[in-house]
């Protein structure tokens, strides 16, 4: 009985095994012959940060679509199309780590595009290091990401401490003696907190008076904060947060009869939601952007910054902000590094290490501006080239107003309707 059974099992095993070999062989070889570059995107497609997460996806996707129109990335005279794989981080670091492992193991991606938030990035970058898969992050802006000196992760957007810091100084120069005091508030969550701290640093460097520095929890009722700001009456109010907080902030301020002379916020002022939802109330608000459509940059794939903006508008129905631009430019970095490397995909572990070296040596001009990664210091592997531009909303349009090299309009001070 037992002998019979095992013989039958053996037979069945052999048949199944050879069947699998016959069927499997072409699959294996097809995978070998299918010369595509497999790109994984780990970002927050759901959860608290899904708004920004979807923006990053748009940016990465637009690049992939454009490069595939040309037949793919050109390496040693031949073009290799790009195939995108997505992993939803659910706005949670642990899910981001799960997603990264899945993309690397199951989808066998050659390269990763990074998450929207810094928290997820911090959980994903050890995994990219472990499997030696280079990662290009088009969004994460927390300086903490670069402090840990990630060997395989590269950031397109200068850390927020650099940008908010500089923007206040630029603003102070522009206003001269008209503005003397500043109050800084921010949401108590990583990105916004660091933005606020950057503002504070800028205020101290520029020699202005800091009237208030305060953090508040996400979802807090803003009336107490605004009442306090009204009482302080500073010349400039600086807010760290995302666009939904700014919308609530402006609404709450209006309903308490308060319009500061200058209101500067960071990421989000340039987003379509901010202008659409606030209408006239948005006018006069200042924002910081490392990129705007009016900047005089260009590259071969997207053309000028404004060409890119129109392309993105045609594709998604809204004008891109710097997150989308940074993400699209991530693809350009990959393109350039792969070309210099000159090795056909799929890339094995050794080649991926070489590719990482190649990315480290990046020094290119794109529609997004110049890109080169720091090789040492607190901003290791962060692209610190872009210069922040101070923008102002005028008649529902985003207009760069400072520094003078990028300005397209006058800085309006005090802002319309200021109390």
């Amino acid at each position: 009985m037992a002998g019979k059974f095992s013989r039958r099992a053996l037979l069945r095993g052999t048949v199944l095994g050879s069947g699998a070999l016959v069927l499997g062989a072409p699959v294996v070889s097809a995978q070998g012959q299918e010369k595509v570059i497999r790109c994984g995107v780990v970002t927050s497609l759901s959860g608290d940060n899904r708004f920004g997460g979807n923006l990053t996806r748009r940016g990465y996707d637009l690049w992939a679509e454009e490069i595939n129109k040309l037949g793919g990335i050109e390496i040693a005279g031949q073009r290799y199309p790009v195939k995108m794989f997505y992993g939803d981080a659910q706005s949670r670091p642990a899910s981001g780590a799960d997603a990264a492992v899945r993309l690397i193991i199951q989808d066998k991606v050659d390269v990763l595009f990074g998450p929207y938030t810094s928290g997820v990035t911090l959980a994903v970058q050890p995994i990219s290091a472990k499997y030696q898969v280079p990662m290009i992050s088009g969004s994460a802006e927390s300086p903490n990401v670069w402090l840990s000196k990630p060997a395989f992760n590269f950031g397109m957007i200068p850390a927020v401490d650099l940008t908010s810091d500089k923007s206040i100084k630029v603003l102070a120069e522009n206003l001269g003696s008209k503005a003397k005091s500043v109050a800084v508030v921010g949401v108590d969550e990583p990105f916004s907190k660091e933005t606020a701290e950057g503002f504070r640093h800028g205020v101290q460097e520029a020699g202005l008076e800091l009237k208030r520095f305060e953090l508040f929890p996400a979802n807090a009722d803003l009336t107490p904060i605004i009442s306090k700001l009204k009482d302080d009456n500073p010349d400039i109010v600086a807010v760290g947060g995302h666009e939904s907080v700014f919308i609530n902030f402006v609404n709450a301020a209006v309903s308490l009869d308060y319009r500061p002379k200058a209101l500067i916020m960071h990421y989000g002022v340039t987003s379509a939601a901010f202008i659409n939802q606030l209408g006239e109330k948005a006018n006069g608000a200042l924002g910081v952007s490392v990129w705007t459509a009016g900047l005089p940059y260009r590259d071969d794939l997207f053309g000028t910054a404004s060409d890119y903006s129109e392309l993105s508008f045609a594709r998604w129905g809204t004008h891109p902000d710097y997150t989308e631009a940074g993400c699209s430019a991530s693809g350009l970095v990959l393109q350039d590094a792969a070309r210099r490397l000159g090795k056909a995909p799929p890339w094995d572990q050794k080649t991926r290490v070489e590719l990482t070296k190649a990315i480290e040596e990046t020094d290119i001009e794109t529609f997004y501006g110049p890109v080169a990664f720091a090789k040492e210091g607190d901003h290791f592997h962060n692209n610190i080239k872009p210069v922040p531009v101070v923008v102002q909303i005028k008649d529902g349009k985003v207009v760069p107003v400072a520094p003078s090299s990028a300005a397209e309009g006058e800085l309006q001070y005090p802002m319309p309707g200021a109390s």
Binding site: S46, D48, R50, F51, N54, D188, E214, L215, F216, P217, N219, A220, D221, T223, P224, I225, S227, K228, K230, D231, S244, I247, N248, N251, A252, V254, S255, L256, D257, Y258, A273, Q277, L278, K281
Partner: protein, 290 residues
């Protein structure tokens, strides 16, 4: 001094919002003995209803609030019997099962809203948006003032209903003793379902005002539920009258702590006080049942 007066006013007005949110919840607890996790969910859905009525039909929230009340009262009237069924079932622990049921309902609302209307916050514009009154040194946003007035009106309405009508008599009878009320010929199941409908109607209308004051997105419900629980516990679960005082107390606490201690600490203080209140006076500082 001006800041102090403004702080008090801010607190009172936040209190008004909290009262709107909690009155219906207390009514259901008093009658059905159910802790409804979905309270924030009903408010969130009310906000969305107002948003769509503005966006699609151009109806101002101050008019649509009545439509929302009727619509959600009907929905609640339909859902009520299910909750009654779970609460009075022969399960091992019907109270916990009812809690779990409303928890599932809440997740369904939150997830459904995310799925249907996706992630972004939506602003609900009204003719009163951005309007304010100035009284001496104090600025009063009209929207918040109307929420406060609505809180007073609802409270008054609920009191009249409970103490001046036959239906109210039945409700109180059920609240005191379900079995005895049944023996006296009250259709307990029907009364419970109507109370649940009343509660969902009130809470969704409160959600309309809250959405015009802040904005609405699928995740706001969690915080509303938490605050409703807080006010309800402080008032004494099931006490409708205590809500007025407890809501104002919480509003003032949030405002004063935010202004004079630091906004960062406001939630820490709020939850700390809630925890301590429960430990020291679990039946609430103020109240008794309906």
């Amino acid at each position: 001094m001006d800041l102090f007066l403004q702080t008090i006013m801010n607190g009172v007005l936040i209190g008004g919002i909290l009262i709107c949110l909690t009155i219906g919840f207390q009514l259901t607890f008093g009658v059905l003995h159910v802790i409804d996790f979905a309270v924030g969910g009903w408010a969130m859905l009310g906000g969305y209803a107002a948003y769509w009525l503005v966006a699609l039909a151009g109806i101002d929230p101050f008019i649509s609030i009545f439509l929302v009340f009727v619509l959600f009262a009907l929905i609640g009237r339909a859902v009520g019997p299910l909750i009654y069924h779970v609460r009075t079932s022969r399960y091992a622990r019907p109270d916990l099962m009812a809690l779990a049921f409303t928890f599932g309902l809440f997740l369904l609302m939150r997830g459904g809203a995310l799925w249907l209307w996706s992630y972004n916050s939506r602003n609900v514009e009204s003719v009163f948006s951005g309007e304010f009154l100035t009284v001496g040194p104090v600025t009063i946003p009209v929207l918040r003032l109307s929420a406060f007035l609505m809180a007073l009106l609802i409270s008054l309405g609920v009191f009249l209903l409970l103490y001046r009508t036959r239906f109210g008599m039945a409700v109180r009878a059920v609240a005191q003793n379900r079995d005895h009320a049944g023996l006296m010929g009250v259709d307990v199941k029907r009364v419970s379902a109507y109370v649940y409908g009343l509660y969902t109607g009130i809470t969704a209308s409160a959600g309309v005002l809250i959405a015009t004051i802040y904005s609405v997105n699928p995740s706001v419900g969690v915080r509303y539920t938490l605050f409703a629980f807080f006010v309800a516990v402080l008032a004494g679960l099931g006490s409708v009258g205590g809500v007025l005082i407890a809501g104002l107390a919480l509003g003032l606490m949030e405002s004063v702590v935010s202004t004079y201690v630091g906004t960062r600490y406001s939630l820490l203080v709020v939850f700390g006080v809630l925890f301590l209140v429960l430990l020291i006076a679990p039946k609430g500082v103020l109240g008794r049942g309906i």
